[in-house]
Symmetry: C2
Subunit: 207 residues, 2 copies
């Protein structure tokens, strides 16, 4: 992500300034993606919005793709933060409570920055970044699978990997479609109903 130094930096140098530049670039990219869409996100424009020159941009990001990847990563990292802590919180809960929590978290996670989420889902051609996204996906699966394995006694006999695949697919799809279709017009009540129903489906399936 950072530049390849021609020689090693003597100390930490003025890292402050450059980190601010990097942040500004990523932030500008995200803003353009949300407000004007992927097509308008040219490197020149990103640099302009970031208040930085194109030259500086290329000092920190080897390509436009890398910039978009950074935005995706930042967003995914935010989501994973929530998911990871939910996984911990859920560790000692019985299945019905746990599933409810996970479903809630899934919807919450998708609601972090719905506009950005939408752009990432609809407009970004996944080329190369696929590996990163897949990694996050695998982590989610692993997190859920270990939980299910720890609660085998509350469940019917079923392959944990398979159960994970089905449950995660279903939960994610509901969360995803909810956010995409109903955008930001989502009442508390609607969300609760959705959570109730999805929980019911998943719990009913597991045992």
């Amino acid at each position: 992500m950072a530049r390849k130094p021609p020689t090693k930096p003597r100390k930490n140098a003025s890292q402050e300034r450059s980190r601010a530049t990097v942040d500004a670039l990523v932030e500008a990219t995200a803003r353009i993606l949300v407000k004007e869409g992927f097509e308008k996100a040219s490197t020149n424009r990103i640099a302009e919005i970031a208040g930085v020159s194109v030259g500086s941009l290329y000092q920190y990001f080897p390509s436009k793709e890398a910039l978009v990847a950074a935005v995706i990563d930042r967003h995914n990292e935010e989501i994973m933060g929530i998911v990871r802590s939910a996984r911990i919180e859920v560790a000692d809960m019985p299945i019905d409570k746990a599933v409810r929590k996970l479903v809630t978290v899934a919807i919450e996670a998708h609601r972090i920055d719905p506009k950005l989420h939408r752009v990432l889902a609809e407009q970004i051609p996944r080329t190369g970044q696929l590996k990163d996204v897949e990694a996050f996906n695998r982590e989610v699966h692993a997190l859920v699978r270990t939980y299910l394995e720890s609660r085998r006694n509350e469940m019917r006999k079923i392959d944990p990997a398979l159960a994970t695949f089905i449950c995660v697919s279903a939960i994610e799809a509901v969360a995803h479609n909810t956010v995409l279709n109903h955008a930001e017009m989502l009442t508390e009540k609607t969300v609760r109903t959705l959570v109730d129903e999805t929980t019911r489906m998943v719990v009913g399936y597991l045992r």
Copy 2:
């Protein structure tokens, strides 16, 4: 889709020739998308592969986007054909049989042209075409909802629109992820297990 004629055609003229051209263009677009990806699909290249000149291309398609949209439409139409006939077939079945059929069909539909499906899902920036895809989506929902409404007596008390949303989301997600992750390495047995499990989840949820 067709050109705007400067004057009305006298008869049906040599429509044969032009229809062949249009077909060749759409087919070439699909082939390039599958074999070389979206980025390589320039209008010049599409024309070249179709054995047609760029000029002719623009006689029938006002833009590159229109060409891609045609490919998407053709693919969606193929899928909808299967789904529509499944809906009819399912009309008089009880819920468990019907759901099983619909789940099977969902996976089958996604398996029609997995490579194309993957490219469309991963690489095509949805800009403008959104409306079309949304229309297909709405039709699927309508098809399922009318079925559920006709079987209300076999189900617990539940809002049909909500039930449709949850079931369709879940089924589509399983089908989609199955095809995307496991590509074309899918044994009959695996598919049957997947169908069994998904059916179990959905039927259990509905009643």
